[in-house]
């Protein structure tokens, strides 16, 4: 994203929330954050929960964003916005959160008709779905698809969004238009989408996955050879003599503050403290259901291990077998190819024109 594009992005974002721009200088922008924006990017959740609990008027936060590292404003505390800036990432997330689902109607050019003969025109319902396909192994690549499903006369098109964005659209249905019925349910449309995605994936070059599997196989071979030899030479090899005795040859004394001879007691130790099994809830979710800060902290906090449960002697090196299994799990986690398809956003579009959508994905 170029700096200019960034500035336009920020201005559009702020305008969408009707933010009050205090100063708009070629190099920077000073803005009073509207409540919704503040909550998303202001980094003060506790302030907001306090204000709401106490029913007090909030003090809006004022921020200055700069766009050129060489032209930072003087005498003003400004934040440079760039792709790696934490604040920009928050703004991105905020835009994604508030730009997820839309319903838009095409504003067709006015049809010149005498009012006597004026009759209504049909709009075709479309489901526009933008997805990200991530190809993941030890590396990763993304592919964005802008799909559209005609809900009236079922068919799928690619590059739906790029054509739709060129149209004049309105959030409410214009006069003298009516919408055609939807012959596909949402689930059915989603199936069409899934099929189009699957076909796209099918057409992709799959060598990345083959290579990843080759790499995995190589690594597993090395591992197999290594641990097989370890096991074969058990008893004679220094490596396997380790489990029980190696600790004696271990580093400096500070490593062994424990008393010798507690080996048996070790087994009966209480299990390590683990965070509550309850499903983790985000602060936002907790807050929206009317939860209190203290409860949230209590549920989500990690308890400090009581002194009497701290046990420095409880230490056992993995056996070669355990080590081998752990390593195999790590390798699979790292290399095994998989594909994730996630929704970016989706919308219902009622269109008058039938733009020339591509039936096949473009430039792939």
């Amino acid at each position: 994203m170029e700096q200019q594009q960034m500035r336009r992005f920020i201005e559009t974002y702020l305008a969408a929330f009707s933010a009050h721009i205090c100063e708009s200088h070629p190099d920077y922008l000073t803005v009073k954050l509207p409540e919704a924006v503040d909550k998303d990017i202001g980094n003060r959740p506790f302030y907001w929960s306090w204000i709401e609990k106490m029913n007090m008027p909030p003090q809006p936060m004022i921020l200055t964003f700069a766009f050129d590292p060489d032209r930072m404003p003087e005498g003003v505390r400004a934040e440079l916005l760039h792709l790696g800036a934490g604040r920009l990432q928050q703004i991105f997330r905020s835009a994604q959160k508030h730009g997820r689902f839309v319903c838009m109607y095409e504003l067709a050019p006015p049809v010149r008709q005498s009012s006597a003969k004026r009759r209504s025109l049909p709009l075709v319902p479309w489901l526009g779905v933008n997805v990200k396909i991530s190809f993941i192994c030890d590396k990763k690549k993304d592919l964005l698809l802008y799909l559209g499903v005609n809900l009236h006369q079922p068919k799928v098109v690619f590059d739906f969004y790029p054509s739709v964005r060129k149209l004049a659209l309105s959030p409410s249905i214009p006069d003298y238009f009516y919408t055609l019925d939807q012959r596909l349910t949402l689930e059915q449309a989603a199936e069409w989408i899934k099929q189009a995605v699957d076909e796209t994936i099918e057409r992709e070059d799959h060598r990345w996955a083959e290579f990843a599997r080759e790499r995995l196989a190589q690594e597993l071979d090395i591992l197999e050879a290594y641990y097989t030899q370890l096991t074969d030479s058990e008893g004679s090899s220094e490596e396997t003599a380790s489990e029980s005795s190696s600790q004696k040859t271990d580093g400096p004394a500070e490593d062994h503050p424990g008393v010798p001879g507690v080996e048996e007691a070790r087994e009966e130790l209480p299990p390590p403290p683990s965070p509550p099994a309850k499903e983790p809830v985000s602060w936002e979710q907790h807050q929206s259901t009317g939860g209190r800060i203290l409860d949230f902290l209590r549920i989500n906090g990690i308890p400090v291990t009581p002194k009497e449960q701290i046990e420095q002697t409880e230490w056992r090196k993995s056996t070669p077998q355990e080590e081998r299994e752990r390593r195999i799990a790590e390798l699979k986690w790292q290399y095994e190819p998989r594909i994730e398809v996630t929704l970016i956003n989706a919308g219902l579009f009622y269109l008058h024109s039938a733009p020339s959508f591509a039936a096949e994905p473009q430039n792939m």
């Binding site: 991105f92 993941i136 580093g251 398809v341």
Partner: protein, 564 residues
Amino acid sequence: MTNIPVAFDRTWLPALQDLMQNDGPWHKWELFQLALEAEEALAVKEFDQLQALKYLPHVKPYPHQISTAEKVLNEMRGRAILADEVGLGKTIEAGLIMKEYMVRGLAKKILILVPASLVIQWTKELNQKFGIPAVAQKKEYMWRQYDVVVGSIDTAKRDPHRRHVLDIEYDMLVIDEAHKLKNKRTRNYQFAKEIKKKYCLLLTATPIQNEMDELYNLINLLRPGHLGPTRAFATNYVEGKRQAKNNEQLKTEIGKVMIRNRRSDGGIEFTERQVKSIPIELSKEEWALYQGVTDFVRQTYRADVGGINALALITLQREVCSSREAAFMTLYNMHQRTAEGSKEQAAILELVEMIKRIGTHSKAAKTVELLKQIDDKAIIFTEYRATQNYLQKYLGEHGITSVPFRGGFKRSKKDWMTELFQNRAQVLVATEAGGEGINLQFCNQVINYDLPWNPMRIEQRIGRVHRLGQKRDVHIYNLSTIGTIEEHILHLLYEKIDLFEMVIGELDEIVDRLGLLSSLEQNIIDIIMESGSEKEMALKLDNIGQAINSVRHSALADKAKKLS
């Protein structure tokens, strides 16, 4: 090929259905468009292309750092030993790789284990340079609460921390100063091995300090079995403890898991060093004191007088070369310890009287002159607190602003002093150079007010400013008072062994490899303290210079043969 599992997200269907049923509330079209634009900016278009740089406007990596990052990502599959020589920026390389995996969404939970003294430094650098929200681990809950945690291995391996760390699946593990893990029998090593990790970086400037096994052990942390089982490794590659065989093959194998950039590789531009000796003529009174102290030290050193130990005498001899203030405290303490009315006490009193008679301070005066001439930021190194205090006072009297720097300062105070020096003061007067991670590259003038007898310390002093990131030539001024031991030392270091011209880290390697460290300084001390005459001392120092030189040449020759 259709057998790649595809996870198709359908969780959004009910939400959209609800909205359709109630006809809203819908989101704004502008934000819908921005959401897509954001996603397009964040999407990773290629498997192999480095993405991190566009997220890092504040980092200007060197070509070798970028190629290292690319190699780790594309060829080494995210598990590597980064073994650049000192000062080439391993931290930057690690930061780049970390950022890349984060940007690609492949790493979220990251653990960075470093020596306790470097925890804050790492945390700061990751946040400031790389925009990585790393936190320094202080409390038990932090292991789980934060995604990117910097901690010390000595804390992490102990209960209750250990249970948390071993329980978490880390997308990435980074270990700095990894040569400390060379011994597989230590708990640190075993602990590192037990940590569940996807990607792993081990950072060390000295992957092999003594034995081939050390490197084997490090590689086994990353990719167990990469060099074959222990015994196969021994038969295939090890000739002697330090001697490899099948060198080419071993090199290839090691090259798959380790990257070692060297200064000599070229492409890495270091600025020049300009070394200058500043001779100083002592005043008559100063010379008398120097002579008096030197005579006293020699006589007493041999006489083995009760109450005065050899160490104090050595110190005194060094101090008198630095400043009279430094010598004064030691003389005072000696006076307290010697027997009342003894010959030595009388001699000491006389020396103190001599100090009182001195009205000039030739060295300090010369320093002020030099500083005015430099007219830029400068670091003055001295070995002694007393000299440091005196100098600060003296500089202040001559209108030169200065800040102190000492080893005893807490980390935060060191940072504060560095900042003051950068923004407010002309001079930093420092008694130590070894402050790990203190970067003073913005300054390129170093004044050695006195010379340590241990060459390693001089090397460390210069290394503070002459490192990657220094954009200007580095000027080094060595103050040496004519006719004193200092002059001899300087002659040894400067003329004989070319110390100031050595590349950074070279002396380090020589001394380190041959275990010379303890003996080098001791040799110098012995020569100075035990020589009967100036001439004898000069001759002996000359010999030691030749010895070091021959060691250096053989080290260079060996290096050519050594594995890369």
